[in-house]
């Protein structure tokens, strides 16, 4: 009985991002006529594609209560190689190389976190700096243009939908299937919910942890190249602070920073929400210096909602457990 008001508040908290989205849609639609049009929606989706792809990888890491702050540096480090050495080659080769390097970057993170047991946020904070420094060294701190074939790919579309969105849909479909239809997916949730219990149930916890960081790195490489097809050149700020919108997308979509809860569908929603905000700010001619303020405020709200929800769920669940004897 007493749980009822809790349930109501929980329902509100669960749907807080959706409410936020509707409020933002309404506000921007009122402020700009061009905002609520089908063309702009496709635009938003295409711009959100790379964030969504990387955030899908991040979701895997967050599900095991880990974090990867190095995705932005990973994007830059993987894509600078494609920009520098892969000119004139087929875009597919570019994706293979960027994905492979991203995976390698992720494996380094995995090694530090799983084998050497360095706290995830400090390990990935360090690889953020090292990865970016390595990429800056390779590029000589210069702007490096991407090959023509990548840009052509970025401009082309199939069935009226830009290629970036198709790539995103492919990654999304694979990630959804892995997470929801395979044993590995179940293991990821189990490890995130309770690593001790997962270990007792016979799950190879270190192997699962290792794999999720690799997946996150792979997605960062692929997402980076998707972004590359749209921006023509890798400046020294390519991927700079991308970890913020990426983590925000996942958390806004209901993936918990405390592990075990969430999924890729929500993450995609979160990525679209963030891109909608940025698009709306551009459409309404907001002061560009205000963007980081608004984006970080939204992330803050998302994290706040997540922690309140986690606390409330714990309280709700505690009621069901019978009191321990003694």
């Amino acid at each position: 009985m007493s749980a009822d008001p809790h349930r109501l508040r929980l329902l509100l908290l669960q749907n807080a991002p959706l409410l936020l989205f509707l409020v933002l849609l309404g506000t921007f639609a009122l402020l700009s006529e061009r905002f609520l049009t089908p063309g702009n929606f496709v635009n938003i989706m295409a711009q959100a594609a790379h964030i969504a792809i990387i955030a899908i990888g991040m979701t895997f890491v967050l599900l095991v209560a880990g974090i990867d702050l190095s995705v932005g540096a990973n994007m830059y480090a993987s894509c600078i190689v494609v920009a520098l050495y892969m000119k004139g080659m087929h875009p597919l080769a570019g994706f293979a190389v960027a994905g492979g390097l991203g995976l390698l970057f992720g494996a380094v993170n995995a090694f530090l976190v799983v084998v050497l047991r360095v706290p995830a946020f400090i390990a990935t904070l360090a690889t953020l700096f090292i990865g970016r420094a390595w990429a800056l060294y390779l590029s000589g701190v210069k702007m490096v243009p991407f090959g023509k074939e990548l840009l052509l790919l970025g401009r082309s579309s199939w069935l009226g939908v830009p290629v970036a969105i198709w790539i995103f849909l492919l990654v999304f479909a694979i990630a959804w299937t892995v997470l929801n239809q395979t044993t590995f997916g179940r293991q990821v949730y189990a490890v995130g919910a309770d690593p001790e219990a997962a270990k007792k149930a016979g799950i190879a916890v270190p192997r699962v942890l290792f794999a999720v960081y690799c997946i996150c790195g792979l997605c960062a490489g692929i997402g980076g190249l998707v972004s590359a097809t749209q921006v023509a050149a890798a400046a020294s700020t390519f991927g700079f602070q991308k970890e913020f919108p990426v983590i925000a997308a996942a958390v806004l979509g209901g993936t918990s920073l405390f592990g075990g809860r969430g999924g890729v569908v929500g993450t995609v929603f979160g990525a679209v929400l963030i891109q909608t905000v940025e698009n709306g700010l551009v459409m309404t001619n907001a002061d560009p210096y205000v963007y980081p303020l608004i984006i970080s405020a939204i992330i803050f709200i998302a994290v706040l909602v997540d922690s309140q929800r986690t606390g409330m769920l714990e309280r709700l669940e505690r009621r069901k457990i019978r009191p321990e004897p003694g």
């Binding site: 050497l116 904070l125 060294y137 920073l257 303020l293």
Partner: protein, 346 residues
């Protein structure tokens, strides 16, 4: 127990190496030793490293960093983290400079001492205010410390830049501060730099608080086991809250020194030292897992980072390679910390 058994199997030679390595890993003075080794190795390539001038530079660069890192140690001891220290430097520098500046500042007509006093008040208030915000989010709203401080870092560094663009024409920095203010960063008393004296005072106070007061005991107890601390009657939330306030206060005080040294309030102040701040504490041996730390270790860590920084810049290395080397050093320190934890548990 298991470690002992493994040692026995390895034989006498093995025991000797392992315990030697173990003692080195667990030694308080490991970092000081590494600093000396670094200086000795660098001397043939960069002989300037032996000059008094260089060491004056090193002291000048190290003192503000030491103050921020000392504040960071309080938060790390309760197993928290404050990544927003750099944005705290930026926002307090900008706001205090806006109050003090003679270019149309509110106190431009007032006597200089009043403007400086008001400025210092703003530094301290903004610094501890931001710390209190972080602390409230962590203790009252139970949000994870690193993500709270990551968002406050992003928000307040953005805010600092925005305020600067609103207040100035070129949007880069706020200059023309009162004459006497620069003394805080550059002046000397009896031949000793004033910044050294301030940092020394902060360190002594921090050391006494951590090792000689009840509050200090509470912090360590919370870091080792928050539940046990709570059960034993420690006001966990209040203590953690004040750890964050102290961390913010230290950042505000360091901002005074940085701003006085540059003689301008700028929003990019401290953007590059995010790694240094956490790094100085962690390299010195303050554990990221909480419950372990000493002000002396932070001094060693800050010294190590500043000396490495100076040595590398004497070699003429680019910013990118310095980032890589510093990132590597911090990573190495974090790995050693993780291994220490494992050793201690074994």
């Amino acid at each position: 127990m298991s470690a002992v058994r493994i040692d026995a199997r390895r034989g006498a030679q093995g025991v000797a190496t392992v315990s030697w390595l173990r003692r080195l890993l667990l030694s308080e003075y490991l970092v000081l030793l590494l600093t000396i080794v670094f200086v000795l190795v660098m001397l043939p390539v960069a002989p300037e490293l032996a000059s008094l001038e260089t060491w004056r530079d090193i002291i000048g660069a190290m003192m503000p960093l030491l103050i921020v890192a000392t504040g960071q140690a309080f938060v790390l001891i309760v197993a928290g983290i404050d990544l927003s220290a750099t944005s705290n430097l930026a926002i307090s520098s900008v706001l205090a400079a806006a109050v003090m500046t003679l270019d149309g500042g509110p106190l431009a007509a007032a006597p200089a001492w009043l403007a400086i006093a008001a400025g210092i008040l703003v530094f301290v208030a903004v610094g501890s205010g931001l710390g209190a915000l972080n602390g409230a989010c962590v203790t009252r709203l139970s949000m994870p410390p690193f993500i709270v401080t990551l968002t406050t870092m992003m928000f307040f560094s953005g805010l600092a830049i925005w305020i600067t663009t609103l207040l100035t024409d070129d949007g880069s920095s706020i200059g023309n501060l009162p004459q006497g203010f620069a003394f805080l960063g550059q002046g000397r008393i009896a031949g000793l730099p004033f910044s050294l004296l301030i940092a020394l005072a902060v360190c002594v106070v921090a050391h006494v608080v951590l090792s000689r007061t009840l509050f200090g005991r509470w912090l360590f107890a919370i870091g080792i086991n928050p539940r046990a601390a709570e059960v034993s009657g420690v006001p966990v939330r209040r203590a953690v809250f004040f750890a964050y306030v102290i961390c913010g206060l230290c950042a505000g005080m360091a901002a005074i020194l940085y701003t006085a040294r540059l003689e301008t309030g700028t929003p990019v102040l401290g953007q590059r030292i995010l790694l240094d701040v956490v790094g100085a504490a962690v390299i010195g041996g303050v554990s990221l897992f909480g419950g372990k730390g000493k002000v002396l270790w932070v001094v060693f860590g800050a010294l190590f980072l500043t000396v490495v920084d100076k040595g590398l810049s004497l070699l003429g290395l680019s910013l990118a390679s310095m980032f890589a080397i510093k990132g590597g050093a911090i990573l190495a320190a974090a790995v050693i910390d993780a291994q220490r934890q494992r050793l201690l548990r074994a």
